[in-house]
């Protein structure tokens, strides 16, 4: 009776190992793509700079115009793109795993609205021009909003059902935007400062932002990646997860913490970037399947590639000006979202 059962996995083992090798190879390819995207981001812009000169400018800062462009503008921008993209991709994957909802996305869950409200308050009531104050305000606002949305959406016996979370996020986003509008319209100066923040962009941020928020993102990423195994168990349902020895409450709390840190700091650094966190995990799952041990690192690497690509596209299509990254991602991401709903990827409420 036991013979055929024992035989099956033995035969499968080489297959599995090959698949794992393939996936690991995929990760290497993605890492290569990320390097290529970074190089392109350094070279392409209002003024194209050949890669050789980029390297020269980095290694031997000779004070030439091109070296300055690379050093002061493109390097911060590219690094920002990498950390923001990685954070949003991983946060999106975590959010979707945690809510078992392929439609969950940091932007849909109120993070952008909360950050915007905090920033408009700072612009209106604190007389400051330091970008770091904006960054920390946005971080606090985003974190506060995410906690609020999760609390409202998961309150009570029904728990954090996918539909409730998405709709709680959409609704609270609308609340924040009303409050934001109220403050923003107090005087034209506030309005003028705010209207440029509200489109997410990688441009004109300095390295200090990356340096300050980087540690948070790193901590969030490590925490998130460590959750892969418990999330795999929870994917079978809460009861099954508990039976496999995972504490759903602890996993959810740690996951929520990682998400808040990751997307809070990403939004703080770049402003609202829509849909990256939604589309990337979806694409990744269609590549590597539902195993979170692969989904999470793939999302971590794929998202910055796409964000940098969107940023470069925004620089190229509207030359000599540029299109903000946040707008490019919304216009590419929303159709993906709609297509997913049409394909029936949306869970029933």
């Amino acid at each position: 009776m036991s013979t055929p059962v024992r035989e099956a996995p033995v035969r499968k083992e080489p297959v599995r190992a090959a698949a794992a090798l393939g996936r690991a190879g995929g990760l290497l390819i993605l890492a290569g793509a990320l390097v290529a995207a970074m190089a392109a981001s350094l070279a392409i812009g209002a003024e194209n700079i050949p890669l050789g000169r980029v390297v020269d400018g980095l290694l031997h800062p000779d004070g030439s115009r091109e070296a300055l462009i690379v050093q002061d503008l493109r390097v911060p921008r590219t690094l920002l793109g990498v950390v923001v993209g990685a954070s949003l991709g991983l946060a999106g994957a975590l959010m979707q795993a945690l809510t078992r909802n392929p439609l969950a996305e940091p932007g849909l869950l109120g993070v952008n609205g909360g950050a915007a409200f905090a920033v408009v308050l700072v612009i209106a009531f604190l007389d400051t021009r330091t970008s770091l104050v904006y960054v920390w305000a946005a971080f606090a606002g985003a974190a506060g909003a995410a906690v609020l949305v999760y609390a409202v959406g998961s309150y009570g016996r029904a728990g954090a059902t996918p539909g409730r979370l998405v709709l709680a996020g959409a609704a609270l986003n609308a609340v924040f935007s009303a409050l934001t509008a109220g403050v923003m319209l107090l005087d034209p100066r506030t309005f003028d400062g705010f209207r440029f923040w509200q489109v997410g962009s990688l441009a004109s941020r300095d390295l200090e932002v990356v340096a300050q928020l980087g540690p948070f993102m790193l901590a969030g990423a490590v925490l998130g990646l460590l959750l892969a195994r418990p999330l795999n168990a929870l994917a079978l349902g809460e009861d099954a997860g508990r039976a496999l020895g995972v504490s759903p409450a602890r996993t959810r709390a740690l996951g929520a913490l990682a998400i808040v840190v990751l997307c809070g700091s990403a939004t703080a650094a770049a402003g609202p970037i829509w849909f990256l966190g939604l589309a990337v995990p979806f694409m990744v799952r269609s590549l590597v399947g539902p195993d979170q041990r692969w989904v999470l690192p793939y999302s971590l690497l794929l998202a910055p590639v796409l964000l940098l690509a969107a940023d470069i596209a925004g620089r190229v299509v509207a030359r000599p000006g540029e299109l903000e990254t946040g707008i490019v991602t919304a216009f590419v991401g929303a159709p993906v979202f709609i297509w997913m709903v049409r394909r029936g990827k949306a869970p029933k409420q």
């Binding site: 959409a170 609270l172 009303a178 509008a181 034209p188 509200q198 489109v199 299109l323």
Partner: protein, 341 residues
């Protein structure tokens, strides 16, 4: 409990409680409107307003009341009515208390259309109105078409696709705002928040005519909407042409959203909150369009009055947004406690 009036083969059903609630809401809305009319640089007491309205006031007061301030109050009441009814239609159709037109992109689309007129083409009042109607209708058509699959549209899918469309249009709106001159952009932002400032009869009259067509149509389809809440299969088995009714109701609901957005801008939350509050007051099941509409009128009127009485001048949209937010949190918490969606 409902009462029935019969005459021969004809019979009409009415519910005393719902009727009482309706009358009460109408009274609240009208009273708020009277105070709105009385508020301004030149305050007029409520009795004087009423006297002017019935043609007994002095000439100056009558002019201020009927020509300058009454249109604002009328636009508030009518737009509120339209928002309440359209909210009830979409919530019933999506079987979701959050499926209101301001969350599923239609209102955002109206904003995009209006912004294009204000910022890009520099159109006047009429062009802005046309732009916002076109924006709302275009968005709705796109969302409806995208939700259409396998011979029909599911309410659930309509809401989710609407949420996606809303996000995309939101980005477009931000883009337009950042590219415009500060003065124009500031003006556009006021419009985007929903405001009743400077409304004249040229706003109120077209709104009134549009509602004269759309509201009876909505009420006539109200019973089909009620049947739709039993699920598509049961409704169809009971003789409701589900898909055709849904198409008509979407059209009417979008029309109501579009004309109200044209008149007051995308005022948030009235469409979302009015049907829910009306339902709790009347203790009825079903979409009860009329009570939702009257609740919407009362809410927008009262919201306008509050925005006028606040120490800082804020558009009415900020007031309704803030109040609606508190209500929403409560609603989600309450449904959560019950364990339903």
């Amino acid at each position: 409990m409902s009462r029935v009036v019969r005459a021969g083969a004809l019979s009409v059903r009415w519910e005393p409680r719902a009727a009482a609630v309706g009358v009460g809401l109408l009274a609240v809305g009208l009273a708020a409107a009277v105070f709105v009319v009385g508020t301004g640089d030149f305050p007029i007491s409520a009795p004087e307003v009423v006297r002017a309205l019935v043609g007994q006031g002095d000439q100056a007061t009558t002019f201020i009341v009927t020509e300058l301030r009454l249109p604002r109050a009328a636009v508030g009441l009518l737009a509120g009515l339209a928002l309440g009814i359209s909210g009830a239609i979409f919530q019933s159709m999506s079987r979701n208390p959050l499926g209101s037109p301001d969350l599923i992109g239609f209102t955002t689309g109206a904003s995009t259309g209006a912004l294009l007129q204000i910022l890009v083409f520099g159109g006047g009042t009429l062009a802005i109105a046309a732009g916002s109607v076109a924006g709302a209708v275009g968005t709705a058509a796109a969302v409806y078409a995208l939700s259409y699959r396998g011979g029909g549209v599911s309410g659930h899918r309509l809401v989710l696709i609407g949420v996606g469309a809303a996000a995309m249009l939101e980005a477009a709106n931000s883009y337009l705002i950042t590219r415009a001159e500060l003065r124009e952009a500031y003006e556009a932002a006021f419009w985007l928040t929903g405001s009743l400032n400077n409304r004249g009869w040229e706003h109120a009259a077209p709104l009134g005519w549009a509602l004269a067509v759309l509201v009876p149509l909505a009420l006539a389809y109200g019973r089909r909407l009620t049947m739709g809440e039993l699920g598509d299969d049961a409704a169809q088995a009971l003789g409701v042409p589900v898909q055709r009714s849904r198409a008509v109701l979407v059209a009417v609901g979008v029309g109501l959203t579009a004309v109200s957005a044209t008149a007051v801008g995308p005022v948030p939350f009235v469409a979302l909150v009015a049907p829910q509050l009306a339902r709790r007051l009347t203790r009825r099941t079903g979409p009860h369009l009329m009570s939702a509409g009257l609740m919407g009128a009362a809410l927008l009127s009262v919201g306008d009055l509050i925005s006028l009485k606040l120490p800082v001048a804020v558009p009415v949209g900020v007031v309704t947004g803030a109040l609606g937010g508190l209500y929403l949190v409560w609603l989600l918490a309450a449904t959560g406690r019950k364990g339903t969606t």
